[in-house]
Structures are given as C-alpha cells and as structure tokens.
Amino acid sequence: MNSSDQGSVRPGQPEAIKAVPVRHPGRWAGALVVAVLAAMLIHALVTNHQFQWDVVRKYLFDSSILHGLGVTLELTALSMLIGVFGGTILAIMRLSPNPVLSGTAWFYIWVFRGTPILVQLLFWNFLGALWPKLSIGVPFGPAFGSESTNKLIPLFVAALLGLGLNEAAYMAEIVRGGIQSVSVGQTEAAHALGMSQSSTMRRIILPQAMRVIIPPTGNETISMLKTTSLVSAISLEELLRAGENIYSRTFQTIPLLVVVSIWYLLMTSILTVVQYYIERHYARGANRILPPTPLQRLRGLFSGRSPRTTTPDVVPGLEGGGHL
C-alpha cells in the first residue's frame, strides 16, 4: 500500500489511522530504575543465609504446616459464611421500620465494630470462666439440660464465633450500602407486580446490590484469611501457629515465617482471581459488553486481534462467570 492509497475509501473496511505513537522516555527510565532495584532485592534475598532457603524448601510441604493451612482455609471459609449470612440479616434488620429490630442491629454493630477482634477472640475463649455451664430451657425458667461451656465451645468453635460474629458486623454495613444503592423504583415495580417483601428482597434487590457488595466482600475475605492468624493467640493450630510450633523447637524462625508467608501469598492470589470472575458475573446487565477476561485478552494478544472487539462470545445472560 503506498501513500496515494491513504484517504481513499475502501468499501467495508475503513482505513486504520497511521501515526507515530507518542514516545514515553520517562517510562523507560523509570522501568530501568525499578528493574535494577528488583534485581538487587532478589540478589539480597537469595544470598542472605539468614533466609536458609533449604529449610524453607524442607518445611514448605511439612504435614503440620499443611494441616495448619487447612485449618486456616476452613476458618476463613466458615467465618466468612457466618459473616455474610449474619451481615445480610443484620442489614435487613437495620433497614427495617421496626425500631426494636433496627435498634438491636445497631447495638450489635456498635459493640462488635467497637472492640478489637483479638479481645473478642479472648472473650469467646474464656467464656467457660464467665458461664461454666450453658443450659437450654425456658427463658428465666427451668432448664431441660445443661452442658459444660468448654465442652460445648471447643477452641475451633470459639475461634469461629470470634471471627464470624465480628465479620458479620462489618458485612452488615457493606450489605446495607448495597441494598441502599438499588433505586426505590425497583422495589415499587416489584411490589406493583404483587411480589412479597421477601421475594422482592431475594429476587430483585439483593441480586442488584451484589454488584456493590461483592468487591468489598472479596477484600473482606482476603483480609479474613490473614486475620485468622490472630487465633494463634488462643493457641488454635492454624497456619501461623503451625509455623511457630516448629520454630520454637528448631529456632529456624525466619525460614518458617517465609514458609508461612508463601502460603498466605498464594492463597490471597488465588482469592484475587476468584474475586475477579465473580465480579464479572454480577456485572451482567450493567455493561453492554462484558470486559474480556485476562485469558481472553492473552489469547487475543497471541492471535493478533484487539481483545476489546473480539468478545461477541460473551452473550450476556449466558453465565458471565463461566468464561475462562
């Protein structure tokens, strides 16, 4: 194609604009500085014998570390579950016109957000000292049976209650923000169709609120994964405690902290990817065309096409979350 072609209109395919792109010398200089610093850091990490990389390798897949990792994941999943369900109920209570319900929710949130999580964990752990026996029966009346508190609330459950109930207070505010972000017209339209309060909430409001709720919930989950390390304070053997138990025997403190960190980093990275796809799923209907996934973008890169225009395979409504 020679220059005389430029500007001539070809049917169907408009001529792409040819122009010299803007040069960014500053970016190159900046990248160079960062690259040198990164090389220095890696060099320092690899050559510093304090890190004892062979010890790291030895304990990375140690069975007690893996067991601790399992406990950490279990705690994260279950306490987020409690947090999300509890938070949703609290948010709905908080928005209720019934002052007893909204007042109770307000009080709950006030207490659980207003005290440190570590203190709450210790409280649950020492519940046995406060009320040695818990009983079930008529309120203020006779009891049908009672059981020792420490037996009813073992360490794991204490940790779960501490983390989950605290999380519920934070999730309540997130869910409330999400519910309030949906316009009142949606509630009116649903009511006008004869839908009940509860199905309006479940079918119309919450699915739309999800778009606002999901991103901070993802952050909460990632943060929870790390917060679980606090339960090492009540000597439940999760990931950090598993590492501590080993280095208190072997005194190889730094390498075991590195092992633990590697696992935390890996888990938070996986959660970040999961979060991305969930957010994309709930963007349905909000964007005309969903943005390409990183993998679609990569494929586009290698096939030489612009990924932004190659996503007709994303038909909204055909499960946005399933495009890997």
């Binding site: 009511h191 006008a192 169709l193 004869g194 839908m195 739309q208 349905r284 964007n287 038909v315 409504g317």
Partner: protein, 260 residues
C-alpha cells in the same frame, strides 16, 4: 349520576380521598369514578398529586382519608360491619396482582433479560410453570413488537423498547386494571409513538386504563373520560374532546395553553 348501575360497573371509585405526607396535604378530597373498560385520562400540572393518586390505587401509598375502592373492594382495608381492618402485607400483595402499573422511568429489572422481566412475577407470584410463562412472555413480546429482543438486557434497549417491555411485564399478570404514570414523559419525541400505539391497542381490546399523560392528542383520540387535577383537587372533568376544546375553568385553560 343518573343510573345506579354505574356502581356495579365502576372499576375504581374514589370518594373524598385524602393523602398527607406529614403536615402537607397532597390530595384534598378526590371524587371520581372509572368505569370498567374505560380509558380514563388524568392531567394536571406537575406536583398536583396525579402520581400520588395512582399509587394510592394499588396501595403503594396509604390513603389518609376518604374511601377508595377497586372492583368493589376497599383498597388497603377489609370492612366487617362498621369496622375497618387493615390488610396484611400478603393480602395487599394479592390485590396488587390484578393491577398493572407502568412507570415514567420504566423500572425494568436491569439484571434480567426482557423475557425474564416478564416471566418473573407470573412464576414467583402466580406460581405459573416456567415453560408456560416463557411461552406467554414470548407472545406478549410479539404483541408489543419486540419478539427479537427476548434475550436483551434493559441496558441494551432504547427507552421506547424498555417501556414496551414494561407494559408486557404488567400484562403478564393478566390485570383487570392498568395504571400508566406518564409512560412517555422520559422518552425522546420520536419514540413516543411506538409506546402510544401499544396503549391504543390495549384500549381497543377493552382494557380498563388510567393514564396520566401530557399527550393531549392521545387523550382526545383514545380517552373516554378526562379529569383535570390541580393542587390535590379535581378542578374539571368530562369527555376529553369537550374539556380540551372548551375548558370551563381558568386553571384548566392556563394549563392547556401550556401543553397543547
């Protein structure tokens, strides 16, 4: 007012209907009657209480005084002897099924396709089978001229198309009364016609409709009765052609001179 039979044929009957928000009285005693099969047009300046009155009819707002009934039954209350009993939420919901409402801003559910918007209430509320509901929804989409848009999300539709889906959604509940609150006010002028056409078709099929609108051409052509409201009272009423051609009150004249 001559024949007592109108009582039986009244779809909506309002007697001294009042509504206050706090200390502000928005409806100050509305008397009117909408007969079955009639297209009843409600006009008036902004803020005169038209939307509030419509919303009272399906109990989105609670009436503060007077009596309002739909198809012979009180809105929001059950009468036993001399006493009135407030209806429970599920009883209110049950009555709303039979009253379709179309909003100025469409209020489609943005996370659902056009088809899902239409099947939602029949499946959730009337417990219709999914396949049946979907089949009827397709028929309704065809009726409003959008059979090719079943899988589109509201954000992918024009305003006129969204409003037609909203009408189809209301019709899916097989209502005996349709309320339209300025259905074309949010539309670009060239899209108004397609929505009015659908409404005209409905009127021809004998649907009872209360229409709040500034489209005087539609009112004149399709309307059977017209009420002019201002500041929460009915100022003037009659056949649309008569009222529009020959308004009796100053306020009506002033208003019509602005919208005609």
């Amino acid at each position: 007012m001559s024949e007592p039979t109108t009582t039986a044929a009244a779809m909506v009957r309002a007697e001294g209907v009042r509504k206050s928000f706090g200390l502000v009285e928005v409806l100050k005693g509305i008397d009117l009657e909408v007969r079955t099969g009639e297209v009843f047009v409600l006009v008036g300046p902004s803020g005169s209480g038209k939307s509030t009155f419509l919303r009272c009819i399906n109990h989105l707002e609670k009436v503060s005084g007077g009596r309002l009934s739909v198809d012979g039954e009180l809105v929001g209350y059950r009468q036993k002897g001399e006493r009135l009993y407030e209806l429970r939420d599920h009883e209110v919901a049950r009555k709303r099924r039979d009253i379709g409402m179309v909003f100025q801003h469409f209020n489609l559910f943005p996370h659902m396709t056009a088809l899902e918007n239409i099947t939602e209430a029949p499946v959730q509320v009337r417990k219709e089978g999914k396949a049946d509901a979907r089949e009827r929804a397709r028929a309704l989409l065809e009726r409003v001229g959008l059979s090719d848009k079943a899988a589109s999300y509201p954000s992918q539709l024009s305003g006129g198309q969204q409003q037609r889906v909203a009408i189809a959604r209301a019709l899916a509940m097989k209502p005996k009364l349709m309320l339209f609150d300025e259905p074309t006010s949010a539309l670009d002028p060239e899209l108004v016609g397609e929505v009015l056409d659908v409404m005209r078709g409905l009127a021809e099929e004998g649907m009872t409709m209360i229409v709040v609108t500034h489209e005087m051409g539609f009112a004149r052509e399709v309307g059977d009765a017209l009420v002019f409201m201002d500041a929460g009272v009915v100022v003037e009423s009659g056949h649309p052609r008569e009222v529009l051609a020959n308004p009796q009150h100053e306020r009506t004249k002033a208003f019509l001179s602005k919208v005609l």
